[in-house]
C-alpha cells in the first residue's frame, strides 16, 4: 500500500505552509471555539467566518475552494440535529403527520438547526486546512510545545508511523480470507453472520498478536539505535516575527467575528 494513503498533507509553497505549527494549531482551536461561542442565528458572523476561511484557503495556495470540497465528512451526523427543528420553543410554522408522529417545525428550531450545521461545517473546514498545510510530525511537535504530555504525543506519533505498516497487515489478512473464500456464482456462501463475525474476530486476534510481537522487535531495534524514551526532531520550531504577527492578526479577526456575532 502507498504510504500516503492516509496522509492529508498537501505539499505546496505558501504562507500558511511555512507558518509555525503552534500558531496554526492555536488559531484553529480558537476559531472552532469562537464558532461554538457564536449565538444561534448570527448569520452575518457565520458569513464572515466563511470569508475568513476563504482568505486562509487563498493563503495556502491550495485553491480557494480546497477546504470546501472536502468539508462534507461531518454531514451524515447532521441527522442527529434534525430533531432540533421540531423544538417546542418558538412559533410553529407547519404541521406534518408521519404515521403516529406529528411533527411541528418551529422558527426557533429551524434557526437552531441551521446554526448547528453551519458551526460544524465551518469548524471542519478549519481543521481540514490545518492538516493539509501541516506535516503530521510537525503538528505532534506543536502539541508537545503546547504542553500536551509527552507520553500522549509519543503514542500518537507511533500510532501514525505504524498505521501504514499495520494497515498492510490488515490487507494481507483480508486478502488471505478472500483467497480462501471460494464462491459459486448465484449461491450463498460463508454460512451465517455469527460465523462470519467470528472469522473476523479471529483475524482481529491474529492482528493483535502480530502487532504485539512486532512492538517488541521495534522496541529492541529502537534501543539498539539509542532510544531514550524521547522522540527527537530535526526541525526545532522557532517563532519568527512573521509568526507572531500572523497570530496577532488572526486573533484580532476572531475577536472581530465575535463582535459581529453579538451586536
Amino acid at each position: 500500500m502507498h504510504a500516503d494513503a492516509f496522509d492529508r498533507f498537501h505539499q505546496a509553497e505558501s504562507r500558511l505552509h511555512n507558518l509555525d505549527p503552534r500558531v496554526k494549531v492555536v488559531v484553529t482551536v480558537l476559531f472552532i471555539l469562537s464558532n461554538a461561542l457564536l449565538p444561534d442565528g448570527a448569520w452575518s458572523a457565520f458569513g464572515l467566518c466563511w470569508i475568513a476561511l476563504l482568505g486562509a484557503n487563498h493563503l495556502s495556495n491550495l485553491g480557494i475552494d480546497f477546504s470546501f470540497r472536502r468539508s462534507f465528512i461531518a454531514l451524515p451526523f447532521a441527522l442527529a440535529a434534525v430533531s432540533a427543528i421540531f423544538s417546542p420553543l418558538g412559533t410553529p410554522l407547519a404541521e406534518w403527520t408521519l404515521g403516529p408522529l406529528v411533527l411541528i417545525p418551529t422558527d426557533y428550531g429551524l434557526v437552531k438547526f441551521g446554526s448547528i450545521l453551519l458551526r460544524s461545517w465551518l469548524s471542519v473546514q478549519a481543521a481540514i486546512l490545518l492538516v493539509a498545510t501541516t506535516r503530521f510530525p510537525d503538528m505532534i511537535h506543536a502539541f508537545e510545545h503546547l504542553r500536551v504530555p509527552a507520553v500522549l504525543t509519543t503514542i500518537v506519533a507511533f500510532l501514525y508511523r505504524y498505521l501504514f505498516v499495520l494497515t498492510d497487515e490488515v490487507m494481507r489478512l483480508l486478502r488471505a480470507r478472500e483467497s480462501r473464500s471460494a464462491t459459486v456464482a448465484g449461491q450463498r456462501s460463508g454460512r451465517n453472520v455469527v460465523w462470519r463475525a467470528r472469522v473476523t474476530g479471529n483475524m482481529a486476534g491474529q492482528l493483535f498478536l502480530r502487532s504485539y510481537e512486532r512492538s517488541d522487535r521495534i522496541y529492541n531495534a529502537m534501543l539498539a539505535r539509542g532510544y531514550s524514551g524521547q522522540m527527537r526532531t530535526l526541525n526545532p520550531h522557532v517563532m519568527k516575527s512573521s509568526d507572531w504577527s500572523f497570530a496577532a492578526l488572526s486573533i484580532a479577526i476572531i475577536l472581530l467575528l465575535q463582535l459581529t456575532g453579538r451586536f
Binding site: 473476523t200 483475524m203 502487532s211
Partner: protein, 312 residues
C-alpha cells in the same frame, strides 16, 4: 475507501460549549491519572507498545464483515483494548486513536474531543475491563459470555451517553435521539460482541501468558469492577427509561437542575449557566463551564481516593 467514519464520533458544533468543556475536564483528569499510572508501573518500554497497540485498534477497525444488504459490521475495539492491555493503558490507546481520527480525518471534532474520548475510551474501558475482571478465574463459558455482554454494553452505553450529550446541548430531542442511537448501536454492538469474544478467545489460546489471572488482576484494582458494574447497571436502567419515558427523564433532569423546561438554552447547572457578576456574556458561560468542570473534578478525586483506599 478504507477508512469509514463511525457514527459515534461527534463533530464540532454539535455539543454546547459547556458540555464540551465539562467532558474535556473529566477526560484530562482521567487521562492524567492514566499517564502517571502507566509511567510508574511500566516505564518507557510501554510507550512504543501502546503506540503500536493504538495502530492495531485503528487497523482492526478496518476489518469488516458483510452483514446483510450491503451493510457491514464494524469493530470499535475500546472494550478489547481495556481487557487485553488493562484499563489505564486501554484509555491511553483509545485517546490516541480518537485524537488521530479527529486530527487526521476530521472524524470527530477538536473542541468536543473530550466528550468523544470519554464516550469511546473511558466508558468502554470501565465497562470492558470492569466486567471482565469480575469473572476472572471462572469457567471459559462464563468468561466469554461476560466478555461478549461487556463489549455489547460498552458500545450501547457510549451511544446512550452521546445521545444524552446531544440532548443536554440542545442539539437533539430526547425522544428521537435516544431510541435512534440505541437502536443503531444495539445492532453494531452485536458485531462488536462476537468479534471481541472471538479475538479474546484467540489470544487466550495462543498467548495465555498475556491474559492469565494474575496478569489481568495486576493491571487494575477491584475498584474497576465496582465502577464497571455500576456504569453497566446505570446504562441498562437508563436506556429503557430514556427511550420509553423521555418525559420522565426530562422531569428528573429538570428537578435536578440540569434542565429548565421552556428555556431556550437547555443546559443549566449553574443558574442560567452564567456567573452572576459577569453578566450574560460568553466569558461568563465559559467561566461557568470551567467551574462546573472543576466541581466534577473534585467529586471524581474524592471518589477515586475512597476507591483506592478500599482496594489497598
Amino acid at each position: 475507501m478504507l477508512y469509514s467514519p463511525a457514527p459515534l464520533h461527534i463533530p464540532d458544533g454539535f455539543l454546547s460549549l459547556v458540555i464540551a468543556l465539562v467532558f474535556w475536564g473529566i477526560t484530562i483528569f482521567t487521562v492524567g491519572i492514566a499517564i502517571s499510572r502507566t509511567n510508574k508501573s511500566l516505564g518507557e518500554k510501554q510507550v512504543p507498545l501502546m503506540g503500536i497497540m493504538a495502530a492495531f485498534i485503528f487497523a482492526a477497525q478496518m476489518l469488516n464483515f458483510p452483514v446483510a444488504g450491503g451493510t457491514s459490521g464494524h469493530f470499535l475495539g475500546g472494550a478489547l483494548a481495556a481487557m487485553v492491555l488493562g484499563p489505564w493503558a486501554g484509555i491511553l490507546v483509545m485517546t490516541a486513536v480518537i485524537a488521530l481520527q479527529a486530527l487526521l480525518f476530521q472524524d470527530g471534532g477538536l473542541l468536543v474531543m473530550g466528550a468523544n474520548i470519554f464516550n469511546m475510551g473511558l466508558l468502554t474501558a470501565m465497562i470492558g475491563f470492569g466486567l471482565y475482571r469480575s469473572v476472572l478465574g471462572r469457567g471459559k463459558g462464563v468468561r466469554l459470555t461476560v466478555v461478549g455482554v461487556a463489549a455489547w454494553l460498552a458500545v450501547v452505553a457510549s451511544a446512550l451517553l452521546a445521545a444524552l450529550q446531544l440532548w443536554l446541548s440542545g442539539t437533539s430531542r430526547l425522544e428521537i435521539v435516544v431510541p435512534a442511537m440505541l437502536g443503531v448501536h444495539a445492532l453494531i454492538g452485536l458485531g462488536e460482541a462476537v468479534i471481541t469474544v472471538a479475538a479474546l478467545a484467540f489470544i487466550e489460546r495462543t498467548r495465555p501468558d498475556l491474559l492469565d489471572k494474575k496478569a489481568v488482576a495486576a493491571k487494575g484494582g477491584r475498584g474497576w469492577v465496582y465502577a464497571g458494574v455500576l456504569i453497566s447497571l446505570l446504562a441498562v436502567l437508563l436506556s429503557p427509561l430514556a427511550s420509553a419515558d423521555p418525559d420522565g427523564l426530562e422531569r428528573v433532569a429538570t428537578d435536578m437542575g440540569f434542565l429548565q423546561s421552556g428555556q431556550p438554552t437547555p443546559y443549566q447547572i449553574l443558574p442560567d449557566y452564567t456567573v452572576p457578576f459577569l453578566g450574560e456574556t460568553a466569558l461568563s458561560t465559559v467561566v461557568a463551564g470551567v467551574v462546573g468542570a472543576l466541581v466534577l473534578l473534585g467529586l471524581m478525586i474524592v471518589i477515586g481516593q475512597t476507591l483506592r483506599r478500599k482496594t489497598s
